[in-house]
């Protein structure tokens, strides 16, 4: 426990220094708080408006989690499909790649136009930005399976689907969790962006209206909440990896 604290210490110090420098600049340079509010002010305002912030965080969290769950299911099903069928892979991959070339700025308002101000367009946009990294992580993970393990299973008489379950799927787990860590950070940003393009409630629309009311302190309060949200989800994905892959824990402990 103590060793862990010591390892985390440099990060805590550097973050604290960053905030101190910001606070000092905001106070000493004479810059107007309507241009750059000090972090102490942001925190104070966030606390004062905590009810409004909480009300707007919940829909964003919902959109993020639902959209991400949808994207995970879709990525898994399609990754299995293209793993078993080479023609399917060649047919679908160009579409997946093209889907990643669409500029979100243009797509988000269109999706809102088509599906309204409710939860659906947010879910779709979160799924769109997180789907591809997950799919790539999974397919790459399957491909990383040791050739000799597959050959061994073949010599034991295991059919293709059994080789997939016994070797390819577990081999993909480290890649899956690496992809999870990356796309979970896109997910929150994706949801906020979707709300920015039009929503009844949510952090995105909260930030937008705070900006329109010339309240940079509340914009930053919203940003802070979204960062904390992302960090929490990131932490959860680390925890999931830790629980699901006990063997990688054993390996690391040995190497230390």
């Amino acid at each position: 426990m103590r060793a862990k604290l010591e390892r985390g210490l440099p990060a805590l110090i550097s973050i604290a220094l960053l905030f101190l420098a910001w606070e000092a600049y905001a106070r000493l340079s004479g810059i107007s708080p309507t241009a750059l509010p000090a972090p102490s002010r942001v925190l104070a305002e966030a606390w004062q408006y905590r009810q409004a912030l909480a009300d707007n965080t919940l829909p964003t969290l919902m959109a993020t989690l639902t959209g991400f769950a949808l994207s995970l299911v879709a990525a898994f099903v399609l990754s299995v499909a293209v793993d078993f069928s080479e023609p399917l892979r060649r047919a679908l991959f160009p579409i997946f790649i093209i889907s990643q070339t669409l500029p979100l700025v243009a797509i988000a308002p269109l999706v809102v136009l088509w599906f309204g101000f409710g939860l659906v367009p947010k879910i779709l946009l979160v799924a769109l930005v997180t789907f591809f990294p997950m799919l790539v992580a999974l397919t790459q993970g399957y491909a990383s399976t040791e050739e000799e393990i597959e050959q061994l299973l073949a010599s034991m008489g295991a059919p293709r689907w059994r080789r997939f379950l016994l070797a390819r799927l577990p081999s993909a787990l480290p890649y899956f969790f690496a992809g999870l860590r990356i796309s979970i950070t896109y997910a929150v940003v994706g949801a906020i962006f979707a709300e920015y393009a039009g929503a009844a409630k949510g952090l995105g629309i909260y930030i937008l209206s705070a900006k329109n009311n010339f309240r940079p302190d509340l914009v930053l309060a919203g940003v802070m909440v979204s960062s904390v949200l992302t960090l929490l989800l990131f932490g959860l994905s680390l925890l999931a990896a830790y629980l699901v892959m006990p063997w990688s824990r054993a390996t690391k402990e040995r190497k230390r």
Binding site: S155, M156, A158, L166, A167, P170, T251
Partner: protein, 255 residues
């Protein structure tokens, strides 16, 4: 007359349009330890792929106990070059892999392998992950996984190639000891001449690609041979003559 455990007749195989195996014939009797020895890239791995059924020969036939290969259930328990232990399975669950693929329940498979852990020098390591074991222990676990399948024959593909010299010598001695106590039939592919001489009843020497059998060496020496045996000088002489044959083949090795 009892048919040989394994009989390979005039097989040929090519890869990417290039001939790899050219007219190979050999046979292994039940209880025999036979080695295939040849330069790297001579097509030894291709031979194993033909036997495990992941590839079909262009010509010739392979019979196991008189029956054509592929007609019966898998005839070979295969031990690949590196141990191919699954890092996400505990050692005991790695060793039961073949039994599970055969359809045995995990519980039943575990109770079948458990008593063998002591003989394989793995007692107490059942619940460890492979990453926590030394190279030699991993190879013993891989061999345990191979023999519990109780197939008619063991196929060992350079099983000790990735080990350091000292561990390798220890493993060879250990394997010979196990060999003397069990009724196994095995075919070993290797390019280590000493390993082949100390373990085999017979050695088939392969030429470089396209591989043909250029010499068959019977080794009638008494066991045990690895360290402490009485066959030292004779074994060394056989080793020497095999090395000479192989070196004469590979022109670029000449000074």
């Amino acid at each position: 007359m009892i048919p040989p455990r394994l009989e390979i007749r005039n097989i040929a195989s090519s890869y990417d349009g290039m001939k790899v195996l050219n007219d190979i014939s050999l046979s292994v009797q039940p209880g025999e330890f036979v080695s295939i020895l040849g330069p790297s890239g001579a097509g030894k791995s291709t031979l194993f792929r033909l036997l495990t059924g992941t590839k079909s020969p262009d010509a010739g036939e392979i019979r196991v106990d008189g029956k054509m290969l592929g007609d019966a259930s898998p005839a070979f328990a295969f031990m690949p070059q590196r141990d191919a232990l699954m890092p996400w399975r505990r050692i005991i669950d790695n060793t039961t892999l073949g039994l599970e693929v055969q359809g045995m329940s995990r519980k039943q498979a575990r109770s079948r392998v458990q008593p063998l852990f002591a003989e394989f020098g793995l007692a107490g390591f059942e619940q460890h992950y492979p990453a926590g074991l030394s190279g030699g222990m991993r190879q013993r676990a891989a061999l345990l996984r191979t023999v519990v399948q109780e197939r008619p024959m063991l196929l060992l593909d350079e099983p000790f190639g990735a080990l350091d010299a000292l561990t390798r010598a220890g493993m060879q001695r250990w394997l010979e000891g196990m060999w003397m106590r069990h009724d196994w039939t095995a075919m070993l592919v290797t390019h280590d001449v000493r390993e082949a001489v100390s373990l085999s009843d017979r050695i088939y020497l392969l030429s470089p690609r396209p591989a043909e059998i250029i010499r068959v060496v019977d080794i009638p020496l008494a066991r045990p041979r690895v360290l402490g045996g009485t066959a030292g000088a004779e074994a060394a002489a056989i080793e020497h003559s095999i090395l000479e044959t192989l070196l004469n083949l590979t022109e670029d090795m000449k000074p």
